[in-house]
């Protein structure tokens, strides 16, 4: 019986846990609730992946109303994969969050932090799993509002302005998405994604549909921080509490990318419509710029969290590049990189959080010689950094391999070169961190530091090991992503 209700439970478990946290309010209890709810969600998502592999697409009618009258949850391999990534990253971060939050947020507010965390998780899972266009907007706003609050809880006062700017940009983005959905509805009379996929191809030349595509693209681009709409991201990630940075960096933009997949290939997917618009070219150009410009900016950052936040923008460029190629290896690469980048970036922000926890500073210069006093933390950062630039035997290598293969398949030799060059840029900024941490004399302050507490170090290292593991064994990443990419291209939903 439970098996049939998994799609609903996926979202409802964290949704119910959030108000419970808010009622109890006490930090440790709230943390326990969040832990249990998040792990449940992770288990459910794995079960869903297995179910979809076995039985095909699952449809769940909320309220018992058949779509398109009611709202439907529709799980195929693509969103089951994203669900697994999101809840999995969360499941690792929660044990880490306890110590980190204790040092960053006043006692009275800790319960509320976990409430917000759970709401954000609910929102992200809800966006991913739903089969209804307007429902996407509602859950998108749940996740956005809660992430604004989480960011504003950062200790630095710049967290407030970062949160405000994110709020303005995020709301504009969400409103653009609503306009797009509204135009589609006005042309078809339905909000159900599957229903839209049936009806849109027949009218895809109509101008409102094209305008809807434009509005959706811009709106989603704002949310996923596609260059040049990324301006909100660096400060938001830099000044949020460590646990929130890690969670948002790992998941929030990934869900927005999933929306790209869903709208481009499912709703507008019929018979190569996506290819017939100038969109792939536009996205490709923006992605290539995104791979380099923010990467170069990252090199000159003095704040380590900002450095890796800019690097996120660059990595998102790699993912959208895969989308713009619109071929099976391209989409596989993009999907795999969603997972790999989520793991690597969440891990990086967690380990950086360890340093901030001990050192109390995010300035690179203050970290001189820290590799000697916090060897495990720094070693983890180095491995994840290698993954980021795509070194062999790390997860990052796999995703870039597929992207390069996709480029080759279409005869785009120069693109392969650019992908390699993009990795060189990453190498420079990662190299800079390594140089400061290992080859400089530690200051007195650094010399007196202890290694990070185990409850923070172990979750960080889980992701480090995952980075290496998914670089060697790809059954759970590439294996699923390939089938998912194939189903996207054939517009099966």
């Amino acid at each position: 019986m439970i098996a049939a209700h998994l799609p609903a439970l996926q979202v409802v478990v964290p949704l119910l846990a959030a108000p419970l946290c808010a009622i109890l309010r006490q930090g440790t209890i709230a943390w326990l609730i969040a832990l249990v709810a998040n792990w449940c969600a992770f288990v459910i998502s794995i079960a869903l992946v297995l179910q979809v592999r076995e039985l095909g697409i699952i449809s769940y009618e909320l309220g018992g109303w058949a779509p398109p009258i009611g709202i439907e949850y529709r799980v195929d391999l693509v969103n089951a994969f994203v669900l697994m990534v999101v809840s999995g990253v969360g499941a690792v971060i929660i044990p880490y969050a306890r110590k980190s939050i204790e040092s960053e947020i006043p006692r009275a507010q800790r319960g509320w932090f976990y409430t917000m965390y759970l709401l954000c998780l609910t929102g992200l899972l809800g966006v991913t799993i739903t089969g209804d266009a307007f429902n996407i907007f509602v859950f998108l706003e749940i996740s956005s509002l809660s992430s604004y609050v989480m960011i504003a809880m950062g200790r630095d006062r710049r967290a407030l302005t970062a949160s405000y700017r994110y709020l303005i940009m995020g709301t504009i983005g969400a409103t653009f998405i609503v306009i797009g959905i509204g135009l589609l509805w006005a042309m078809t009379g339905t909000l159900n994604l599957n229903d839209l996929a049936d009806r849109v191809p027949a009218i895809e030349e109509a101008r409102p549909v094209l305008a809807a595509l434009a509005f959706l693209t811009v709106g989603i681009s704002l949310k996923l921080a596609l260059f040049p709409l990324h301006l909100w991201l660096p400060n938001a990630y830099a000044y949020a509490p460590s646990a929130a940075s890690a969670f948002l960096a790992g998941t929030a933009t990934k869900v927005a990318i999933y929306l790209f997949f869903r709208f481009f290939f499912t709703v507008f997917g019929g018979e190569g419509f996506f290819d017939s618009t100038p969109l792939p070219e536009i996205i490709m150009v923006l992605s290539i710029v995104a791979m380099f410009a923010p990467g170069v900016v990252a090199i000159f950052q003095s704040n380590i969290k900002r450095l890796f936040a800019y690097s996120s923008v660059a990595q998102i460029g790699f993912i959208t590049l895969g989308i713009s190629l619109a071929s099976e290896p391209g989409l596989t690469g993009a999907l795999v990189h969603i997972a790999n980048h989520a793991i690597m970036k969440a891990g990086l922000f967690m380990l950086i959080g360890c340093i901030v926890f001990r050192l109390g500073s995010m300035r690179l210069e203050d970290m001189a010689g820290i590799g000697r006093t916090m060897p495990f933390t720094m070693a983890g950062i180095v491995v994840l950094g290698l993954g980021l630039l795509g070194a062999p035997a790390t997860a990052g290598f796999i995703s870039k391999w597929y992207l390069a293969e996709a480029a080759l398949l279409q005869g785009l030799w120069w693109l392969v070169g650019l992908i390699l060059l993009g990795s060189v840029v990453s190498m420079i900024y990662v190299g800079r961190v390594v140089e400061i941490a290992y080859f400089r004399e530690p200051s007195e302050k650094v010399a007196g530091l202890k290694e990070a507490p185990l409850s923070m170090l172990i979750p960080g290292w889980v992701l480090v090991i995952a980075t290496i593991y998914f670089g060697l064994d790809t059954t759970w990443t590439v294996g699923i992503a390939q089938d998912a990419a194939a189903s996207l291209l054939s517009a099966l939903y």
Partner: protein
């Protein structure tokens, strides 16, 4: 704020029950006329907010203490989601109200009423909480301002 105006105080006292009754009307008449949990919640909160504006926030906090408000906000969500889970436990899909009544139609009707009540609880308490939060800040700022002025006057 305006604690000295007699007319306002009397008018507000007269208005309060009217607004609250109107809120209840909007709540329970929502399935026949325009309105529903959200609008009713706003109206009910408006009554308390009006009271707070005239008689001062401390007075309003005595009528509806913040601790109650803090519990009510999540409670409304729990009522809503709980109704959904009830449908799930009774063997139907999440948020299916049909099994709540002897016939599906009654179940639906009952479900709508409960759910709207959940909306009312969360909306009204959230509005109040926001009012307390902003109002509390305003009072604090006023006090700081006055203290500063006093200091200047003294020197």
């Amino acid at each position: 704020m305006m604690r000295d105006t007699i007319i306002l105080r009397v008018v507000v006292k007269l208005l309060l029950p009217a607004i609250l009754i109107f809120a209840l009307y909007v709540q329970f008449h929502g399935d026949y006329g325009p309105g529903g949990g959200f609008q009713a919640g706003v109206a009910a909160a408006a009554a308390i907010i009006l009271y707070g504006m005239i008689f001062g926030i401390p007075a309003a906090k005595q009528v509806v203490p913040p601790s109650v408000v803090f519990v009510m906000i999540p409670l409304g969500v729990l009522i809503y989601a709980g109704t959904g889970v009830a449908g799930l436990l009774l063997g139907d899909n999440f948020l299916d109200y049909s099994p709540l009544g002897s016939k599906p139609v009654y179940g639906q009707h009952l479900g709508i009423l409960i759910v709207e009540f959940g909306v009312l609880v969360t909306v009204s308490s959230t509005m109040l909480a926001i009012f307390y939060a902003f109002g509390g800040r305003a009072d604090e700022a006023d006090a700081a301002e006055e203290a500063r002025k006093d200091g200047e006057g003294g020197s």
